[in-house]
């Protein structure tokens, strides 16, 4: 256990130092962390055995909320935008959640997809407000009241993202091990008994859904601030699929797996996008098939197998 924790700290420190030696990696890492947060949202729902094929909805919603907010506030403040983005996606998560937590499995997954498709269509159609497929520009916000140049801003954003990911990852870890978090995992195996204990399965899932939406929201805001532009692409189903894909790649149901998966995925993508731009999805599909068929524990499982340990740091017997 102890060794695992040190190793984890080591990896985080390594990532924290990386931009100092390889400046190009800042943007790459921020994007990976942003996606990792959305994936963490998927991971939370996977605990209950539910998969959302539409989580890009919240990624996009918060990005647009942040863009509107920045416009209203005249540039805005990074931390304020992050909070507003998270709250925006949290409220949307509550509204959508009230509907989708009534359904399970296929219904749950596809209803989420349907909501995200609707949102995507709205973003494209109502271009007077959303800028249509051109999207909205999100100008660089200030940080703690200080307007930064591009380079220092990117460094700051990277460390803010890293700290946010660390804090949120830890909070999610606490949540998953709390009573409502363990009840969430019980939805996967026996919802009937949960009700017979006096626990509302829907209520339990709704809490998880809002948390999950807010995680995706923070990720979306980070990505939007990084790129300075939000487009309907943020809500496209391919992106939702990407999140699910990374969750499975990392090791379904694992907090660290979400970020590990996102890092590996973004890294591989960066190279493949150059080498095989046309076959990008195809290769993803093949990898996904191979993982599901032969290594359904994902990267985290692979790591355990290689290191020969059964109880990794931060994982409860479950």
């Amino acid at each position: 256990m102890r060794g695992g924790r040190f190793l984890l700290l080591g990896v985080v420190a390594l990532i924290a130092l990386m931009p100092l030696f390889a400046p190009w990696s800042k943007t790459f890492l921020v994007l990976a962390i942003a996606k990792g947060l959305a994936v963490l949202g998927i991971v939370v729902l996977l605990r209950a055995g539910q998969v959302s094929f539409g989580h890009a909805l919240f990624f996009a919603a918060s990005a647009y909320v942040a863009a509107f907010a920045a416009r209203l506030l005249g540039g805005g403040e990074l931390l304020t935008l992050l909070v507003i983005g998270a709250l925006g996606s949290g409220v949307l998560g509550l509204l959508v959640g009230l509907f989708v937590v009534r359904y399970r499995y296929i219904f749950f997954g596809m209803l989420n997809l349907a909501f995200s498709m609707v949102f995507y269509a709205v973003l494209e159609k109502f271009y007077h407000y959303t800028g249509g497929s051109d999207g909205l520009i999100l100008s660089r916000p200030s940080v703690l009241g200080i307007g930064l140049e591009r380079l220092p801003f990117e460094y700051t954003l990277f460390y803010v993202a890293l700290a946010t990911a660390a804090v949120l990852g830890w909070l999610v870890h606490r949540y998953l091990n709390s009573a409502p978090g363990r009840a969430l995992a019980a939805i996967k195996t026996n919802e009937t008994r949960l009700e017979y204990l006096g626990i509302s399965a829907r209520g339990t899932l709704l809490v998880a859904y809002v948390i999950s939406a807010m995680l995706a929201g923070v990720g979306g805001t980070l990505a939007a601030v990084m790129q300075g532009l939000v487009t309907p692409e943020y809500a496209y189903w391919v992106r939702s699929g990407e999140f699910v894909f990374i969750a499975i790649l990392g090791g379904a149901g694992h907090v660290l797996g979400a970020f590990a998966g996102a890092l590996v995925y973004e890294g591989v993508r960066m190279y493949l996008a150059v080498l095989a731009a046309d076959m990008w999805q195809l290769l993803l599909g093949v990898v996904l098939l191979v993982i599901v068929l032969f290594a359904s524990e994902g990267l985290v499982g692979l790591w355990h197998r290689i290191s020969g340990r059964f109880a990794p740091a931060g994982r409860e017997a479950s």
Partner: protein
């Protein structure tokens, strides 16, 4: 006789033309141990399903402690003090035994903290004690999937008891438990029930169990209560012997 805790009046329900309940009146009194017996498929489990809100009767009412609970959800009914153990154990298969129990305790105590780990629950000792009483404390750290049916059955009952209910409804509590152990299990169970002052209803097909542990017996046959009384009276009835016990 004391005031009825559960009072079912004129229950009707049918499945595909088969009348599982056809005008059932049945009362369960405070600290009663009522056994429901009857031929297979007569609708005994249906009674438990109606009392816990899993099924809604076509007509008729169920009152619990004076409040009408007909058609309420299992969750609503459970929170008011009726717990249920199942014929086929209903557990959280991917959780450990103690976690199953702690989720039960957290449900009872309305624990909503997203921060406090379940494993640090203050109810842990109490839950271990319950497992101890049911004779399954040694598997507390094991994941449920790894356990044999007999042990799951005991944990299933322990989980219902974790809620500290006023009434416990059980469906063949010792089926799946070996015949050497079943008396020991029932002895313990009755001790716990007495200790926690829990009223018990159990659906049973094992007449030895009925004779030994029930205070009152109701015979459910073709959707009706055919006869009701002490075990001695009921089991001595010629009709019951012929149709239910199969002598």
């Amino acid at each position: 006789m004391s005031q009825a805790l559960i009072e079912a009046r004129d229950l009707h329900i049918e499945f595909g033309g088969v009348k599982a309940a056809d005008g059932v009146d049945l009362s369960v009194h405070e600290s009663d141990h009522l056994a429901i017996i009857g031929p297979n498929g007569a609708g005994k489990t249906t009674f438990l399903n109606i009392c816990t809100g899993y099924l809604r009767p076509k007509s008729g009412t169920v009152r619990f402690d004076g409040t009408e609970i007909t058609g309420r959800s299992p969750r609503w009914i459970t929170r008011r003090g009726i717990a249920r153990a199942f014929q086929i154990p209903q557990l959280f298969l991917e959780h450990t035994v103690i976690e199953n129990m702690l989720i039960g305790a957290a449900a009872r105590d309305r624990v909503r903290s997203l921060w406090r780990p379940l494993s640090a629950s203050t109810a842990r000792d109490e839950m271990m004690e319950l497992l101890e009483l049911m004779g399954v404390a040694d598997v507390a750290a094991q994941v449920v999937t790894a356990l044999p049916e007999g042990q799951r059955k005991l944990i299933d009952i322990a989980l219902a008891l974790a809620l500290k209910p006023r009434v416990l409804l059980m469906d063949e509590p010792t089926s799946g438990v070996s015949s050497q152990e079943k008396f020991q299990v029932m002895d313990t169970l009755l001790r716990v029930l007495a200790h926690q002052q829990v009223t018990a209803v159990f659906v049973e097909h094992d007449m030895e169990m009925v004779e030994r542990y029930a205070e009152r017996v109701a015979v459910w046959d073709a959707g009706r209560i055919r006869i009701e009384g002490t075990p001695a009276e009921v089991l001595a009835d010629a009709g019951v012997q012929r149709d239910v016990i199969g002598l």
